[in-house]
């Protein structure tokens, strides 16, 4: 990018600057800290210049938007063509309440839905299971059967709105319900669009909503991918998630590296199933976090796009450019929010949303300022949505593509993060692949180590966190808190009783028996799951069939 002579010239100038102008000041006023680091602990130099990206090859490293290696973005026009999808993760209480919140968000200009299911649904238990005690409707909406799902999407046209569902081990079940409802609305499967998270590996690594052991749970993941390729072409079949890895304490580079490692495992599994890489890879999507250190996040996103494109092309021999695109959703960092002085969180979220826009995401959820205390109130959700609307409409981040490209610092950091990702992928390959690395606890321990380091930095005061270890003040507790009706547990149990009493018992039993047989065979389970949900089988009943056939995952703890 720079010719030799110019570089030597700059080098000379820089040395002069260091020994004269800079030195004079440093001698009298030492810098605030000996070492400056990003929030991930990566050392940051005083100044970046062409010397830091001396051998920078523009065409090789960046290229052009919509083209390999996609560093600058996956679409040729990015936000000049269309803004990212504004998609707030929402769900609590009953299907009726969440349906109301969905309609409110759509009225406020949100452009897609994102369903938060309560933990029993995510863990494959019905609301009346002993492990569901106290959990019903708490961190998401209670969905036990297709009847709840119908209420959830009542009055929402499934051919016009795309829906993202945070559901993993039981992803096939919830997708089956969604498809059955689309069918009832008269919407053909090829008009249905959305995403299921379907990323079971990160549940085992850090999120905890696992059900079955790695092998059979991966089989269900691949069944869904295969089925959608054939029948639901607009569906994003998986959302390979770094979000929770970061929440659990990883650095930015680890978030990207371990997510890509999971991605490699899924692609490998699909290929082993006999699917051609260019058939399923265009529907793979990703999900990342965004912390407050804007430039590090931007570098992370750019490095991730470039690295994934290379993996798909070089390791898996993808030919279709769509197979090489890292398309992703972002949620701002939940763990960055403080319970102290909660209004400060609005500023954090704004910076994180800005980083997301500069980084080139396809969709975004902005967190609400009260989420370190409770589920967000309607007021807090509105501020969060407005925050990303301000970033989109006022900040200027959307006017040109990848605006930070060419920044000496951002390019140097992008290269550095890419090198860190590469180091992890090589290490995981050496260990025998992602599943093996998880089994050994390698990935989990790396994340925990980073979480520990961060905590120590906060407690020693080495890293400043406003309201936590500096600028602390006494304050009254936040009083406007969203409360989930404690009666919802009983209500949901009543609903289940009624469902079980009123459904066609013969049809229900046949559907579950058929599912059991199919699950033991090599046949794709999706059609049998769709029949089962239509026969009013519940999430818990379907997962029980699989618990029986596949067994349950029991994690090793690496503390």
């Amino acid at each position: 990018m720079f010719d030799k002579e110019k570089i030597n010239d700059i080098k000379k100038k820089r040395e002069e600057w260091e020994s004269s102008t800079l030195k004079k000041v440093l001698d009298r006023f030492p810098e605030r800290k000996k070492k400056f680091t990003t929030i991930s602990g990566t050392e940051v130099e005083r100044l970046y210049s062409p010397l830091d990206i001396e051998d920078f090859d523009y065409n090789e490293k960046l290229g052009f938007p919509g083209e390999y290696p996609f560093t600058r973005g996956v679409q040729p026009t990015m936000y000049r063509g269309r803004l990212w999808t504004m998609r707030q993760y929402a769900g609590f209480g009953t299907a009726e309440e969440t349906n109301k919140r969905f309609k409110y968000l759509l009225e406020q200009g949100q452009t897609g839905l994102s369903v938060a299911f309560h933990l029993p649904t995510q863990a494959g238990y019905d609301s009346d299971h002993p492990l569901s005690m106290g959990e019903v409707g708490k961190v998401g909406v209670a969905v036990d059967s297709i009847e709840d799902m119908k209420v959830l999407f009542d009055g929402i046209p499934l051919d016009k709105v795309t829906t993202s569902m945070t559901i993993n081990a039981p992803a096939t079940v919830l997708l089956a319900m969604y498809l059955a409802i689309a069918e009832e609305q008269g919407v053909p499967f090829d008009k249905v669009g959305g995403t299921v998270q379907n990323d079971v590996l990160k549940e085992i690594i850090c999120r905890g909503q696992y059900i079955f052991p790695p092998q059979p749970t991966m089989r269900l993941t691949v069944d869904l991918i295969e089925y959608c390729y054939e029948h639901v072409p607009r569906w994003n079949t998986i959302s390979i998630s770094g979000y929770h890895i970061r929440e659990a304490g990883s650095t930015a580079a680890q978030e990207m590296a371990f997510t890509i490692a999971d991605g490699i495992a899924y692609v490998q599994a699909c290929i082993e199933r006999g699917l051609a890489v260019d058939s399923f890879a265009p529907r793979l999507s990703f999900f990342f976090n965004a912390f407050t250190n804007v430039l590090e996040e931007v570098a992370k996103f750019r490095a991730g796009r470039r690295y994934w494109a290379k993996i798909m092309k070089e390791r898996f021999g993808a030919k279709n450019p769509k197979s090489m695109m890292m398309r992703y959703h972002v949620q701002t960092g939940g763990v960055t929010l403080t319970a102290q002085q909660p209004l400060n969180n609005i500023v954090r979220v704004a910076l994180q949303a800005y980083a997301t826009a500069l980084g080139g995401a396809q969709s975004l959820h902005t967190n609400s300022y009260d989420e370190a205390l409770c589920l967000p109130t309607e007021q807090a959700v509105t501020v969060a949505l407005r925050t990303q609307q301000i970033v989109a409409e006022e900040s200027g981040a959307t006017e040109t593509i990848d605006p930070l490209a060419g920044s000496y610092y951002v390019e140097a950091l992008t290269d550095k993060i890419e090198a860190q990702i590469d180091e992890y992928i090589k290490k995981i390959d050496e260990l025998g692949g992602t599943l093996k690395a998880i089994e050994l606890g390698y990935i989990q321990k790396e994340i925990q180590e980073s979480a520990y380091r961060f905590q120590k930095e906060i407690e020693s005061g080495e890293r400043i966190y406003v309201g936590i270890n500096k600028y602390v003040m006494e304050e009254p507790p936040l009083t406007n808190i969203l409360k989930v009706d404690p009666k919802i547990g009983e209500m949901q149990v009543e609903r289940l009783k009624k469902l079980r009493a009123e459904r066609d018992q013969k049809k229900w039993k046949e559907a579950l028996d058929n599912l059991r047989e199919v699950s033991k065979s090599d046949e794709n389970v999706m059609p049998a799951v769709i029949e089962a949900v239509k026969a009013r089988a519940t999430v818990g009943e379907i997962c029980d069939v699989w618990r029986d056939v596949y067994g349950e995952y029991r994690p090793k703890e690496f503390v």
């Binding site: 492990l131 005690m133 106290g134 905890g208 370190a372 936590i468 270890n469």
Partner: protein
């Protein structure tokens, strides 16, 4: 053994219910161990019965429960109650996680000694345990 004042404080770090947020629990398990305590981490998906069973088996001095999924009002008092029923009234029960301030008085009334919210310095939790543990 039970009268040995030099015996390490034994802490059960427990994750109740289906909540998977275990960053804080695992971090504290490590911090407690570094502070000279003996720590048993239960892992995820514990019922109150399972937590109390572990406390009995291990003859624990402290049970620390971490919840970020809103189940504290059900779980924390239930654990205290089951400990009492099993004659383990002297076990110090502390809690942490996403817990609205207005829920705290009720939890304390039910016998939870202290609630530690997000952003609490870990040393504060260690000190609290050391000062309030009722050694057998």
């Amino acid at each position: 053994m039970s009268s040995d004042k030099d015996r390490k404080i034994k802490v059960i770090v427990a994750k109740p219910g289906l909540d998977g947020h275990d960053r804080g629990a695992k971090l504290l398990a490590r911090i407690f161990a570094e502070a000279g305590m003996e720590v048993i981490y239960t892992g995820l998906r514990q019922t109150p019965e399972m937590i109390v069973q572990t406390a009995i088996q291990e003859d624990a001095d402290v049970v620390g429960i971490s919840s970020l999924s809103g189940v504290h009002n059900y779980f924390f008092p239930k654990v205290v109650e089951l400990l009492r029923q099993n004659g383990m009234d002297d076990v110090l029960v502390v809690g942490g996680g996403i817990i609205p301030a207005e829920d705290i008085p009720k939890l304390k009334e039910a016998g939870v000694a202290e609630i530690f919210g997000p952003g609490t310095p870990t040393q504060k939790i260690v000190d609290f345990i050391k000062e309030n543990v009722r050694r057998k």
